[in-house]
Symmetry: C2
Subunit: 325 residues, 2 copies
């Protein structure tokens, strides 16, 4: 591995000189810079960012932590995050927290790698995680989590209570009466909020929680609903809806005539011609962009007051709900 010293030697200058030609805004004479650049190129030199981080105290590493590796929506989200980070000169260190229950271990890990900040991209990770990161002094932003009451953490997300209300209002407006809620994992804040919003409008409806955001979980949950079916359901997520849809069709119920279904997310798949799920759209790109902006602010001014950005969600009309009359 070629280092600063090698370049300095070859260019006939001091190590400082070559360091300076590679650091923004340092004072080097054009002539020496040229010599250094030439030597560097000849040797194929690139500064070692991790060594540099030792003195600059910034690594450019961002922990991208999630536990949603089953839900295709998150592939879109990872795509947006990784590209966004790359555009900002940052590198995502991916942390898969599936099955992890102890925030302290994740904190240790992120600190050991001196990440500059962390993005928690999850709708189901207990809020203790984001909070633990923040308390460990890591600039943290939570994306796709709960927007209220997460004292001390920046958040970019939709208002899940409002989404729940919108779902209920929509179902009622379409003439469905006995409503049901088929939510995601029971403990998740987003599930709780969506149910709360839904109930605020629809009253104390029947509800059931799926074990995960997965097709199978949605299908199984809807199967369990089959006796005593409501007229229409708000599903916690599109992939859950698709599972539910499958269970309904299997059982010979027609959607949207017999049963209405509305999802949440509007992931790419929801629009596929053979699915055409009516759903509530989460503006992924905007949320991710917002989360990245928040992170950028936080990196610049580490002790700025936490900020919450709430993004509007909107109904996307497709074929699993009756049209308004």
């Amino acid at each position: 591995m070629v280092s600063l010293k090698d370049v300095a030697q070859r260019a006939g200058v001091s190590r400082s000189a070559v360091s300076r030609t590679f650091t923004e805004g340092a004072s080097v004479a054009p002539a020496t810079r040229a010599r250094v650049v030439e030597a560097a190129e000849a040797l194929g030199y690139r500064p070692n960012l991790l060594a540099r981080s030792l003195t600059t105290r910034t690594t450019g590493l961002i922990g991208l932590v999630s536990n949603n590796f089953r839900n295709p929506a998150f592939l879109e989200i990872f795509d947006l995050f990784t590209r966004g980070l790359q555009e900002r000169g940052l590198r995502p260190l991916l942390v898969n927290l599936t099955d992890e229950v102890d925030p302290a271990r994740s904190v240790g890990l992120l600190r050991q790698y001196s990440v500059d900040g962390v993005i928690v991209a999850s709708s189901t990770l207990p809020t203790a995680f984001a909070r633990a990161f923040r308390e460990a002094g890591l600039p943290t932003v939570l994306a796709f989590g709960r927007v209220a009451g997460e004292a001390g953490v920046d958040v970019a997300a939709i208002d899940n209570v409002a989404a729940g209300r919108l779902a209920a209002e929509t179902l009622l407006a379409r003439g469905y009466r006995r409503l049901g809620f088929l939510g995601g994992p029971e403990g998740a804040t987003t599930t709780i909020d969506r149910l709360a919003g839904f109930r605020a409008v629809a009253g104390d409806v029947r509800h059931r929680f799926a074990a995960a955001y997965s097709f199978e979980a949605g299908r199984d949950a809807m199967r369990a609903e089959l006796d005593g079916l409501a007229e229409a359901y708000f599903c916690g997520d599109d992939v859950l809806s698709i599972g539910a849809l499958s269970a309904l069709r299997d059982a010979g119920r027609s959607v949207p005539e017999d049963v209405g279904l509305i999802g949440l997310n509007d992931m790419a798949m929801a629009g596929w011609d053979n699915i055409r799920l009516t759903t509530i759209r989460q503006p992924f790109a905007e949320i991710v962009g917002g989360a990245l902006d928040l992170l950028g602010d936080l990196l610049r001014t580490p002790d700025k007051a936490p900020e919450v950005r709430v993004y509007p969600c909107a109904l996307v009309e497709r074929d699993t709900l009756r049209r308004p009359s």
Copy 2:
């Protein structure tokens, strides 16, 4: 940030002593170790891995590079890779190479972050990338790429030529005669190989390439096929198949009676009750495990001869192909 020195001071020992209590197999007296551990705990000390890497020359960072952020199969793959790496004490630095065309830039990036190795997880990234990484001295393993002729790079993947043959044989065995190939991106080695295998059995069939592994690309490609439709198609990938399926049903063609369809991958979605795609299964978990084992070997013995692990693929019977008579 608490450092070695702070702990040393508090424990009343030298910095070396505390360093040694945190490095495997170093000589420290039980008593001092205890004092150090206590001080470390009181201070919340964790060794800085990046500083350590400066002398040990190993970071535990692995570049996980891909350009497949549209294909849900890759979410499963990322899940497997990240968990597998974590189990081995390694950390994935995620690199999104969508739209990147210059291997040199990626090489620079990976070297700047001193990754210990890199996993190229892609079926469509030009082979120049994996090769460039290897030539830059980075232990590299290619997963889901071409298994033959990639001189100098470890590979874990299926034999795409064999997969193409299997597809053609299956279609013929089911009584379909005029066959068609609806492949993924035209330049990709995997596409080329699958087509080659398919043709080796089916002869010089009609073929068309989709622009990407996406639903829309599959649907559009199949739409373009509609006049002059073959009797059965081998699609480059499940998500492409699902798009194709949608185009066919839209056009009033029944699958599998009018037209047969066979995909490749057997991603979770292919088995969903409302899709039920007949497909050829790529054993994701085995391939990922193999890639990780290869990487492990490579990290241990950096100049071992490149090795290729080929995994068998198998037909998964569902509803888009006639049953054998």
